[in-house]
């Protein structure tokens, strides 16, 4: 243990020492060094490669030693031939580049920037256009992906890759990125302990952010607009999502958040606005939904069954067509202490909590679920009558699915946590 510490210390000293004495190689379209590849070949470990303004038509730029590549308005044009940057060494930085025309391949997923089995890399402030995959990290850890802009071309085209993809990665920070019009904005597969902050992901063909078989990841302050689903979490556990905005994910199979086989997760302080379904839940256990605002969604929560021991507390449900669609038994799920704008009870003892329990399920939501076309009767008197009679004496809806302490006033979330 002491030895490894010594080695680490000496490596850090070495890095810093070399950092000061490292030389700078300038790449210029008309200079002696006129390609990035040539500069990399000439460079020694920890050198700085400064790429001057101009267009460089290069593909398969393999970076096999620790280097910093800095662009001054340089454009790298792949001419649709293949991958552009491939990082295969630790301590590599790629900053301020514009990368265009990444090739499309059916089996090899060509990426603008690929990181392969590396650590401590920084990919910062790059602009990527006309891509297949944008930034593809595989079997890498302790790296940062910061402030990149990725503009995909996927419209109805499905042959598009993902904006930022992680495959078997750990401890990656993804911050301040903008991704639009790709398949999945950000996709994490088998990737743990990653943090995803302040990203904007919109107009993507499938998902804004997608987790598969990933655990212990944190998502904060992101916004997801007009995707197939804002965030999809599948077969994952111990995730945290807070202070995000999910809006306008609208369409027959569009969701703010899609949960499938997810365990031990916190979803709190988020805003869900104008989604067809705010959260679609299937086979997910021990999840805390707290301090969220559900505003003007078709369905706020759609619980499709096999969900156990979930807590839905201290949320605001404001003007959703249906607050809750529920299948199956109560399964120790708890819906207490929320504010429901559809609540019509009273508070005679003035303690801020309604005196009559609230039943969030409308009978009509079951009918719509079975026969979607019946939605046209949503605002009809007949539906109001059957919903009212069901509310007075529940026959079909789960008898014990109630909020025992509904708030009378909208909950002011303490957003400082």
């Amino acid at each position: 243990m002491k030895n490894t510490l010594k080695i680490i210390c000496s490596i850090i000293l070495l890095v810093h020492g070399w950092g000061t004495s490292a030389k700078t190689i300038t790449v210029h379209p008309k200079g002696t060094v006129n390609t990035i590849k040539k500069a990399i070949a000439l460079a020694e470990d920890y050198d700085l490669i400064l790429v001057e303004a101009g267009t460089y038509k290069e593909t398969d730029i393999h970076i096999t030693k620790p280097l910093t590549l800095l662009s001054k308005n340089a454009i790298v044009d792949g001419e649709n031939k293949g991958e552009i940057f491939v990082i295969q060494a630790d301590y590599v930085t790629i900053k301020d580049f514009t990368i265009i025309n990444v090739g499309t391949s059916y089996i090899k997923d060509y990426a603008a920037i690929r990181v392969r089995e590396s650590k401590h890399f920084i990919i910062e402030n790059n602009t990527i256009k006309d891509l297949f995959f944008g930034i593809y990290l595989e079997k890498s850890k302790e790296g940062k992906v910061l402030s990149n802009k990725i503009y995909g071309k996927a419209k109805s085209e499905f042959n598009s890759g993902n904006g930022i993809q992680l495959w078997y990665c750990n401890n990656i920070e993804i911050k301040n990125n903008y991704v639009e019009r790709v398949r999945d904005g950000i996709y994490l597969e088998f990737s743990n302990f990653c943090t995803i902050h302040n990203n904007i992901s919109k107009n993507n063909v499938r998902y804004g952010l997608h987790f598969m078989f990933s655990n212990h990841d944190v998502v904060t302050n992101c916004s997801y607009t007009n995707n197939g689903a804002g965030v999809a979490i599948m077969f994952s556990k111990s995730m945290k999502m807070s202070h995000n905005v999910f809006s306008d994910n609208w369409g027959s199979a569009a969701y703010g958040v899609l949960l499938k086989e997810v365990n031990d997760t916190e979803i709190s302080y988020n805003v869900f606005k104008n989604n067809t379904t705010a959260i679609n839940i299937e086979g997910s256990n021990r999840i805390q939904y707290t301090h969220n605002d559900f505003i003007s969604n078709g369905w706020a929560l759609n619980s499709r069954g096999a969900n156990y021991q979930n807590l839905v507390n201290h949320n605001n449900f404001l003007n959703n067509s249906f607050d809750l669609l529920y299948q199956g038994q109560l399964n120790q799920n708890n819906f207490d202490s929320n504010y429901w704008s559809n609540y019509t009870g009273y508070d005679l003892d003035k303690d801020g909590i309604g005196d009559v329990p609230y039943r969030p399920i409308k009978l009509f939501s079951y009918i719509v679920n079975k026969t979607p076309e019946s939605i046209i009767f949503l605002r009809s008197l007949f539906v109001d009558i059957i919903d009212f009679s069901e509310k007075v004496s529940p026959v079909f809806t789960p008898d014990n699915l109630v909020d025992n302490q509904p708030f009378i006033k909208q909950i002011q979330h303490d957003n400082n946590n």
Partner: protein
């Protein structure tokens, strides 16, 4: 009167044929895992003898679906899987050759793809490593997990 009778017969006949509905990539959802179907290299489809279509985003989803239904394969008129080498083209599953390779990811994490011929699979294995499976062997392999 006669043309009308023919017409009626035609309508009846057409409406009863078992049809493969093309997958609408980017719009359709997987009937097993609910994920949006976007990958033209790994999609799959089942059509029952009654003409009902089930679409999947991955071959593994189709196999799990078949297992879950627990019905003989004869209830399916068509079992189709995407051809890895011709994205967007579906081929009959029972004649296809399958490859599980850690270097060719598939949507649901089974690393499973299909090709038309054994030679194509062999060539892929040479390049990407992996194992070759027939449809029957594959079903057995996946049911162990």
């Amino acid at each position: 009167m006669k043309p009308f009778a023919y017409f009626l017969l035609l309508v009846l006949f057409v409406s009863c044929t078992v049809k493969v509905q093309p997958i609408d990539y980017g719009t359709d959802d997987c009937d097993f895992c609910k994920m949006g179907i976007v990958d033209t290299k790994h999609a799959a489809q089942l059509v029952t003898t009654k003409g009902k279509n089930y679409k999947f985003d991955a071959i593994e989803c189709m196999l799990h679906y078949i297992e879950q239904q627990n019905q003989p394969l004869t209830v399916y008129q068509h079992l189709l899987v995407a051809d890895l080498l011709n994205p967007g083209v579906l081929i009959p599953a029972e004649q296809a050759h399958f490859i599980i390779s850690k270097n060719i990811p598939s949507p649901m994490g089974a690393f499973l793809s299909a090709t038309k011929t054994k030679e194509q699979t062999a060539k892929l294995i040479e390049e990407y490593t992996g194992e070759h499976y027939t449809f029957a062997a594959l079903r057995q392999q996946l049911s162990h997990h």
